[in-house]
Assembly symmetry: C2
Homo-oligomer: 402 residues x 2
């Protein structure tokens, strides 16, 4: 069969992919393992944080009024009632006029006190403490619920959690955190010319670079890749592997051989068992991409050249996964840079160029799309939008960093 | 005991930490799991890549001389000898003058051919192919070893591997990749005021936010965190947990209670069983940091406030881990931004300020160092170097992004 490309704009392809994205599943993970995961539910503070007025210094809890006008040569003289123990406040301790207590960082301010003075500004003389600096009301104190109030929404769903978020989630009482379950993404390599990494290529053969690259990228992006190995371009073998992958995966990626025959077979198999929704995207490299569905499982057919497959991952698969995971904000790392030379492009397609970035100068690495070495030598990609004929030397570009 | 801080500059503390960094151990991982890991050995190409002249288009393999002067109205007429099969070149096919073969993308160029013409620029008429565009020598062909030559060094040790690198490693024959083993980092929380995330804090108590934050950060940075829970500020209990952690971990981090008593006990225990190398860094927040060693195991004592502990992770622990893993280049993500207002600082210490970044404007989030909410509301940190009295509004700053 010969199913010709019908090229659609990138935005249309992305929307088509998002429309078939399965809903996310939710699981809970221990808070210390939550960084990098996508929060699936809103998280409120379950208590006031902190739950009490808390000293942020080692020093003396005081009544601020008692320290008015204090200075090195005219210290306030306060009677010390003792020490505040960490984590076990003594409700019997109440400061009256002219009194203070030693308080460690994090200690509960005793009743009557409204400020703390750092130990550096004090001097001990038996039971009397010389305070050499005035403290204002609330000084060096974290007030009750100053951080978060009970019931306040601290995190909204769809946030990609950071390590600091894990700390704050723990403070909010989340020992277990509800997150989007990692989708299982099957990867099937096709192509008669392919051999696995561990095999020495014979005449006409090349090693399958795509599957490990796709798997590594998907794992870093928060998915569980599942490799199904290399299938020859024979319809029966291909169908058998797809039949095995469909019930085991949330999404299937076909890492195509590079030839048109191979792409046609891929499209044919998807069409026979489900539907081909997009076949051809106005994207360079990456034009011969297939987006389809078998049953409710999205199936992507990626181009064979690793550089092309990578661009399709970034431009098409990434927003699809973001939709599937319910991510609020994308995870692309970008940096602004100045373009070192003109980049011509063909109007009507979105073009991605590999660039090297040094001292905020982006230098395009042109080169045949089949080359692997530009993937290793480059630092990222720039996008030339579809409506332009290229980018001019000296213009500012946003580089999507590896 | 009272072991007073003897504050040293950040660079001195970092060097002290690097000096006690254990050598890295090496393990091999499947190439598809290698992204994010640190390459431990040099990797050469084990074959020429590609191992043959390879078409990068679907079309016809030709002798470029035969197409000279060809155009839409004056096509070159070539006799087609048949099709090149993918992955199985037929050595019997040899192009002579006036001959061509169909060739799929990735196919082996037959003997005699030196270029390929895209199918779009050709027309079939029985056995004769009309070529409507001249092909230059080497056009649309990836030449034998154009990507990498056998024996050429493709990767040097110390590289943090990307997903694309995984693809190239596979192409170089690395089904298993030698990488630095993930160090096991023990985390012991100390402080009488601390309770775990799953417990509702009683009077004077707060939940331990530090340990989950540290664990999450370490896991993202390529370590294996091992949590030892919360220990009360009692020397015997503390020593027992350290004794358990030392043989199980490559590094131990003590996530201190926030009070001076607690820090003193930490320093005292390290000094009794090993040595305290640094106690106090000219760093804000993060001053009361301890760097020591028990036997050959590095031990860090981090400040109790999560914001302070986080700054010490970035400024001190990160370069230590980089040294331990043999990383060539740091993994900090940074972005340049313009400062929205003056940031005063104390000369003589390196100061880290949390900032929010919007439209390349960095807005400092001042606030008590004990607050958690600034960790969540900020996008990153800026560093005010030790030798300055602050940064001026409008100056360009480098933001270390979360």
């Amino acid at each position: 069969m010969s199913r010709f490309l019908q090229v659609v704009p990138v935005a249309e392809a992305v929307n088509a992919a998002k429309r078939i994205a399965p809903g996310r599943n939710v699981e809970t993970v221990p808070v210390e393992l939550s960084a990098g995961r996508i929060l699936a539910r809103s998280v409120p503070a379950d208590t006031d944080i902190p739950g009490f007025d808390r000293s942020v210094v080692d020093g003396y809890a005081v009544r601020s009024a008692d320290t008015a006008g204090a200075g090195p040569s005219s210290p306030a003289l306060l009677r010390c009632l003792g020490r505040i123990a960490m984590g076990a406040p003594d409700p019997a301790i109440v400061l009256h006029e002219g009194e203070c207590t030693y308080i460690p960082t994090g200690g509960v301010l005793p009743q009557g006190a409204d400020a703390a003075v750092m130990v550096e500004y004090t001097e001990e003389a038996g039971d009397t403490i010389l305070v050499k600096k005035p403290a204002s009301h609330g000084e060096n104190v974290l007030l009750h619920n100053e951080d978060f109030s009970k019931g306040e929404t601290v995190f909204v769903p769809g946030r990609r959690l950071t390590p600091q978020d894990a700390g704050v989630l723990a403070a909010c009482g989340c020992a277990e955190v509800p997150v989007a379950k990692k989708p299982v993404i099957g990867i099937i390599s096709t192509g008669n010319e392919l051999v696995p990494a561990g095999t020495r290529p014979g005449p006409g053969q090349v090693r399958d670079a795509n599957a490990p690259m796709l798997a590594a990228w998907l794992a870093e992006y928060g998915c569980i890749p599942r490799l199904y190995g290399i299938v020859r371009d024979e319809r029966a073998a291909f169908e058998a592997v797809i039949a095995r992958a469909l019930p085991e995966c949330d999404v299937v990626i076909l890492s195509g051989g590079s030839s048109k025959d191979d792409r046609d077979m891929t499209a044919g198999v998807i069409a026979a068992r489900g539907e081909v929704i997009i076949h051809g995207i106005a994207l360079a490299p990456g034009k011969p991409t297939i987006i389809g569905r078998i049953g409710s499982t999205p199936v992507f057919g990626l181009p064979g050249h690793p550089a092309s497959a990578f661009v399709v991952l970034i431009a098409i698969v990434r927003p699809f996964l973001d939709a599937m995971l319910g991510l609020n904000n994308t995870r692309l790392r970008t940096v602004k840079a100045t373009l070192s030379q003109n980049v011509p492009s063909q109007r009507g397609r979105e073009e991605y160029i590999r660039v090297r970035v040094e001292n905020r100068i982006a230098t395009p690495l042109f080169g045949k799309s089949g080359l692997l070495n530009t993937l290793v030598k480059s630092d990222g990609l720039i996008c030339v939008p579809a409506g332009t004929e290229g980018l001019e030397q000296g213009s500012e570009v946003e580089v999507i960093l590896w």
